[in-house]
């Protein structure tokens, strides 16, 4: 009777959650991660939309987001503007600036002296993509990446801009992109979290990150990004206590299961079965996670690819390596954050250090995925929350300057699953201040990412307090121009 009841429940909830077409991971998830919703019957919010697999055949199965936190300057990376070097020190024409609102940091600056990149630019690959000398390794993979030069956003400060690109809303407590993926597609490997977060610190001026960037918002907490730490406990309290080995832990769980089954006999509460499942799942994670996170077994030439730092836990390089391993093991969404890109001053001093941190490892990640035949099913995104001004913040000298926040245009690049490699998309004006062709709003980027994952950003909704929420709110268009 126990069993048939379980079945009965499952069926109710399948109808409830997955619509008529419940298949694939969605229902795999029934057996595992998503079990909590299934039993508690919480959130009947997905209408007829089948969860657990794509709305249409996906281009990419997984996402790795290399987030450059603090907003790297597009003018020293991918958006080459010689005009600025010519006009060194001249004031930014008011006509160009238009009604752009400014941050409190430069709002009362009486002059806006233009300044060009102190670092050279060259063209690379068959595509002839412009890349600054700060990124020699990324320059080598230009034929695999698509540089989008016309990203733009609304917020002019870090917190709102960051929150916006991650959750689709500047304020409020909405689910982040990874949580949406986990909710929409479930986990590919049910012994690992669907959404993992890796943090690293740079050597430039830092801006913090905050758990709201990987929150599940109003979605079930199972969709929350799981923060991997550099410590010996990659996931919160993953390891058994000292003196308890797996074998002994197994014994404990067996007794526990017996005790809990007693409980089910009395109450017939399906939650109890869910609980038993959760413990089994936890046990499996304890073996699966270390299997993935152990980087000591990586061969020498892999280490050379990513650079020696990749062996030091908590560095960007080792996070990139870890990201590959997690993605390879079926983690749906791996989110990296690298801090230190906020060059209000001393850009010439800090930016090379930041670039050094990320250039090699980012390129290595792409090549590594490629040589395993994974690049075409993994979507990699590199970029920050907004761009930086073409004029100097604070004192402009011959050999140093700083740049303030600039929401009107900035550059990111994408590679892999369904993205047209070896291309640049969009154009900015000669001042690198305004967009003249093919703007890509943050919501468009989000719509495109979902699209590549086989999801319609207008259909992936969750009903909360009477309203159907979307990652792209009520906006967003898929950017066809960058699709392969």
């Amino acid at each position: 009777m126990k069993k048939e009841f379980l079945e009965h429940q499952l069926n109710i909830n399948r109808r409830h959650f997955l619509g008529k077409m419940a298949l694939g991971v969605g229902s795999a998830a029934l057996g595992s991660l998503l079990a909590p919703d299934i039993f508690s019957g919480s959130s009947g919010s997905s209408d007829d939309l089948p969860l657990g697999f794509s709305h249409f055949a996906p281009k990419a199965k997984r996402v790795i987001m290399l987030f450059q936190n603090g907003a790297p300057s597009q003018l020293e990376s991918f958006d080459y503007k010689p005009t600025l070097n010519k006009m060194f020190g001249e004031d930014l024409p008011a006509s160009v600036r238009g009604d752009q609102r400014l941050t409190g940091m430069t709002a009362n600056q009486d002059k806006f002296p233009l300044v060009g990149s102190k670092f050279g630019f060259k063209q690379y690959g068959q595509s002839g993509t412009w890349v600054s000398d700060l990124f020699p390794n990324i320059a080598k993979i230009t034929d695999d990446i698509c540089v989008v030069k016309t990203m733009h956003t609304e917020a002019i400060n870090h917190d709102p801009a960051l929150t916006f690109i991650q959750t689709g809303s500047q304020q409020g407590n909405r689910p982040s992109m990874g949580a949406w993926m986990s909710y929409g597609l479930g986990s590919e490997n049910n012994n690992l979290p669907a959404f993992c977060v890796l943090l690293s610190k740079g050597r430039g001026n830092g801006q913090g990150v905050y758990s709201k960037l990987w929150t599940n918002g109003f979605l079930d907490s199972i969709h929350q990004g799981v923060q991997f730490s550099a410590s010996e406990d990659p996931i919160l309290y993953l390891n058994n206590p000292d003196g308890i080995d797996m074998q002994n832990r197994r014994k404990m769980l067996d007794h526990l299961t017996e005790l809990n089954s007693e409980g089910f006999k009395e109450f017939g509460d399906p939650e109890i079965h869910a609980k038993i499942k959760q413990y089994e799942m936890a046990y499996r994670m304890q073996t699966a996670v270390p299997e993935v996170t152990d980087i000591t077994k990586e061969p020498d030439h892999i280490i050379k690819m990513y650079g020696a730092d990749c062996m030091v836990p908590g560095t960007y390089a080792s996070n990139c390596l870890l990201a590959r391993k997690l993605s390879e093991a079926g983690v749906r969404f791996v989110q990296l954050y690298h801090q230190g890109w906020d060059q209000h001053g001393n850009l010439v001093g800090e930016m090379p250090l930041q670039a050094q941190d990320v250039d090699r490892a980012s390129a290595a990640l792409i090549s590594d995925l490629k040589q395993r035949g994974l690049l075409d099913e993994t979507l990699v995104i590199w970029g920050g929350e907004f761009g930086r001004t073409n004029y100097c913040q604070g004192k402009l000298t011959e050999d140093n300057y700083g740049r303030d926040h600039h929401p009107r245009c900035y550059s990111i690049w994408m590679a892999g699953g369904g993205v047209k490699g070896g291309t640049s998309y969009g154009e900015t004006d000669e001042f690198g201040y305004n967009i003249v062709k093919d703007p890509v709003h943050v919501h468009d980027l989000q719509a495109t990412i979902l699209h590549l994952m086989g999801m319609d950003h207008e259909k992936l909704t969750y009903k909360y307090l009477g309203r159907r929420f979307r990652l792209t709110d009520v906006h967003g268009h898929v950017v066809k121009g960058i699709l392969a």
């Binding site: 077409m21 419940a22 298949l23 694939g24 991971v25 229902s27 795999a28 029934l30 057996g31 595992s32 089948p50 697999f53 794509s54 709305h55 249409f56 055949a57 996906p58 199965k61 986990s187 590919e188 490997n189 049910n190 012994n191 799942m281 499996r284 073996t287 699966a288 299997e291 000591t296 061969p299 020498d300 030439h301 280490i303 050379k304 690819m305 650079g307 020696a308 730092d309 062996m311 030091v312 390879e328 093991a329 079926g330 290595a364 090549s367 590594d368 490629k370 040589q371 395993r372 035949g373 994974l374 075409d376 086989g454």
Partner: protein, 713 residues
């Protein structure tokens, strides 16, 4: 006969009453489940009345051929039968109508006529004697039953079920000889415009349902002006931005595709000719190409991507397990992706169980699994496979030939396996193959080149090649010890996570090098505080940056410590204990409670060693350098001693070196030797700088002194 007649006619009458009531209270009626079967017999029963009525009519026509008596008998009997079956059918029909999905105006018509017929039938029985009336009723009933039947058929088979074949013929064929307008333009208007511009709904007074109406145009004039695209309303509005009120079709409605728009535009440009056919256009004509592309698109729509069927939902669900994910590509695609995970937990069944969906699997990921050559033969059975990932499995390639059956295989990943030249013939034998990943395998350069020549269209990915660039820099060794304050005899452990790295170190503050400096072989011991400088070396790598760690040895324990001068209230740490809690602060984090900070007032601490004080040889004051935050070295450090805390004498004073330019944050130590003095009380004073030097951004301002620990040896 009479008895039967009575019973039947009563039965009929009863059913009619029932029917009447049912119809009257229709909206309140819930058909109980046990009655539903009855309702569902309607389609079966209804054929009787139809048949019988026809018979009745026939009998009626040929009654002169029959002798009166038998005619009466037959006709009467037939009539009863008809009336009975008709009413029965009607009641049943009613029940059926209460079920799902029978709620259309069509239904209503059918229902009412059906009901009517059954009443007419009863009327027939009643006025059986009156020939005239009888005749009339009979034929009305006949026609109405035909009509009812027709609508009924409409309900089940769709309204224009009868005429469909005929209509079909009229549907414009997308072919050479149909006029471009009817074949290509009209369909667009139908699908994208007529929902709001039709015979009975005509937004903007525009009706597009017929050519005539189209010419008439709407309140804003004609829809198009032949030859003048800009002047044509339909083009102008389509071109307007979505936000614009006038944009057509309006936001939210299905929009024109680029192809459709171009078609319309070109057609108008070419004079909006409503009769010209595709065949009459020249092949070079853009309109021609557009039209043909439309046709091609239309064709391609029909053929599905995959021939094979959908897998059973239950099967797919059953196959999903914590270690194996089986995912249908999308609701509309039967293709299935499979990934199997977990080297430790893998069992061969995880693979072989896929037999149940062997037709649907198009992508299979087995990376890192302990599968060997035997497994390949099974994979060979997945004949629709397109993508196969065998990276880092234990295969050698000897059995790879079994993949020959996978004629659709386009992508094959073998990176990190033992496969060698033996797989080349196999690869050559796979027709659909487009890319093979052979990075980190045994295959040699020459074989690869050979294959490249043989199959130029196959991408062979060798991946990252070693030595493609100069040597890289190592990272410095890491320190294992968590605490910077070490107990006597406690050893210092270094580690480098790269294999066989040569770690060199110095303890005299000098830069380590690969020649003179000592090699780290095992944990090192320190006797007092000091600085350890380390650097790592490895064959084929550039040596690392040096890194230095400052260590402090746990010193003599005092009985009591107090701060004679209170620290700045923003940086009061944990009070006096801060100095002896053996917790070092980080120079980057001066606001942490491990530090006490002083500005303008001197740091002044009194240490009490109790009644039998030990001999003190050395006093060490650990302070922070964080010049960006105005935290500088003290201008002077003094040690006072004595056994009466109110009468202390200065026994030592040093002046730490001041920085001459900005430098990195660091924790420094000032050592004052007080050779073997055995006082009870020691007072340590450290004075902050009062005027920052000129090179500092805050020149002239007051500087800070930050202290985290005091040591006595």
């Amino acid at each position: 006969m009479d008895r039967i007649e009575k019973i039947v006619s009563n039965l009929v009458f009863f059913m009619l009453c029932l029917l009447a009531m049912l119809l009257a209270f229709e909206s309140y009626v819930q058909v109980p489940y046990w009655l539903q079967p009855v309702g569902r017999m309607h389609p079966l029963v209804l054929h009787f009345p139809i048949g019988f009525v026809v018979l009745l009519v026939l009998v009626n026509l040929f009654k002169n051929q029959l002798d009166e008596q038998s005619y009466q008998k037959v006709n009467k009997f037939l009539l009863l039968l008809t009336a009975f079956t008709t009413t029965l059918a009607a009641v049943m029909g009613f029940f059926l109508s209460r079920e799902e999905g029978y709620s259309s105006s069509l239904m209503a018509v059918h229902k009412w006529i059906g009901a009517a017929v059954s009443y007419i039938m009863y009327a027939l029985i009643l006025c059986y004697q009156n020939r005239k009336v009888y005749q009339v009723l009979l034929y009305t009933s006949f026609f109405s039953i035909v009509v009812a039947g027709h609508f009924g058929a409409g309900l089940t088979h769709g309204m224009n079920f009868l005429v469909e074949p005929v209509l079909q013929a009229h549907k414009p064929e997308m072919d050479e000889n149909a006029p471009v307008f009817t074949a290509f333009i009209q369909p667009i208007l139908e699908s994208k415009c007529q929902s709001c511009h039709n015979a009975d709904k005509h937004k903007g007074k525009l009706d597009m349902s017929t050519l005539k109406k189209l010419h008439a145009g709407g309140e804003n004039g004609p829809v198009w002006v032949a030859g003048d695209t800009e002047g044509s309303e339909i083009v102008r509005r389509a071109l307007l931005p979505m936000e614009n009120e006038e944009h057509m079709p309006p936001e939210g409605k299905p929009q024109l595709t680029d192809l459709e728009f171009e078609l319309i535009r070109k057609w108008i440009e070419k004079g909006a000719d409503e009769v010209v056919t595709l065949a009459q256009l020249s092949k070079s004509d853009t309109l021609y190409t557009l039209a043909t592309r439309t046709m091609a698109k239309d064709k391609s729509k029909q053929k599905p991507q995959y021939e094979f069927d959908f897998a059973e939902q239950e099967v797919v669900e059953a196959l999903n397990s914590p270690f194996r994910s089986v995912v249908q590509k999308s609701p509309k695609s039967p293709a299935i992706d499979v990934s199997v995970f977990g080297r430790k937990t893998f069992q061969m069944e995880f693979l072989t169980e896929l037999k149940q969906i062997k037709d649907q699997v198009v992508s299979l990921n087995l990376a890192y699994l302990p599968i060997n050559d035997d497994a390949i033969s099974f994979i060979g059975q997945l004949t629709n496979l397109e993508k196969l990932n065998l990276n880092f499995t234990d295969i050698t390639g000897n059995t790879l030939a079994s993949l020959a059956s996978c004629s659709n295989l386009t992508s094959l990943s073998l990176s990190g396996t033992q496969v060698g030249a033996n797989i080349l013939p196999v690869i050559a034998g796979l027709p659909a193959l487009r890319e093979v990943f052979i990075w980190n395998t045994e295959i040699e350069e020459k074989d690869i080149n050979e294959l490249r020549e043989k199959m130029p269209d196959v991408k062979l990915v060798e991946g990252y090649q070693l030595g493609s660039e100069g040597p890289l820099q190592l990272n410095p060794p890491d320190l294992l010890n968590k605490k910077e304050v070490i107990a006597k005899g406690e050893k210092i452990e270094l580690i480098h996570r790269l294999k066989n790295v040569d770690i060199r170190y110095t303890t005299d503050g000098s830069e380590p090098d690969s020649l003179s400096s000592s090699t780290y072989t095992g944990p090192i011991q320190f006797d007092s505080f000091g600085t350890l400088k380390v650097k790592s070396y490895k064959e084929g790598w550039l040596s690392s940056e040096p890194r230095s760690y400052t260590f402090f040895m746990k010193g003599l324990e005092a009985e009591n410590v107090e701060l004679l001068v209170p620290p700045n209230k923003k940086y009061k740490g944990k009070g006096a204990i801060t100095l002896t809690d053996l917790k070092k602060g980080s120079a980057n984090d001066i606001s942490s409670p491990n530090w006490v900070g002083y500005k303008s007032t001197p740091f002044t601490a009194l240490v009490d060693f109790g009644d039998n004080p030990p001999n003190v040889n050395e006093v060490v004051l650990s302070y922070a350098l964080n010049m960006n935050q105005y935290v500088m070295a003290p201008t002077s450090v003094e040690v006072w001693g004595g056994n009466d805390k109110d009468k202390l004498a200065m026994i030592k004073k040093t002046t730490p070196a001041q920085a001459t330019k900005m430098g990195p944050n660091d924790v420094m130590a000032e050592k004052l030797s007080v050779d073997g003095s055995g006082f009870r009380y020691y007072k340590v004073v450290a004075r902050p700088i009062l005027k920052l030097p000129d090179w500092h951004r805050g020149k002239g301002d007051k500087g800070w002194v930050f202290v985290d620990e005091l040591f006595f040896y």
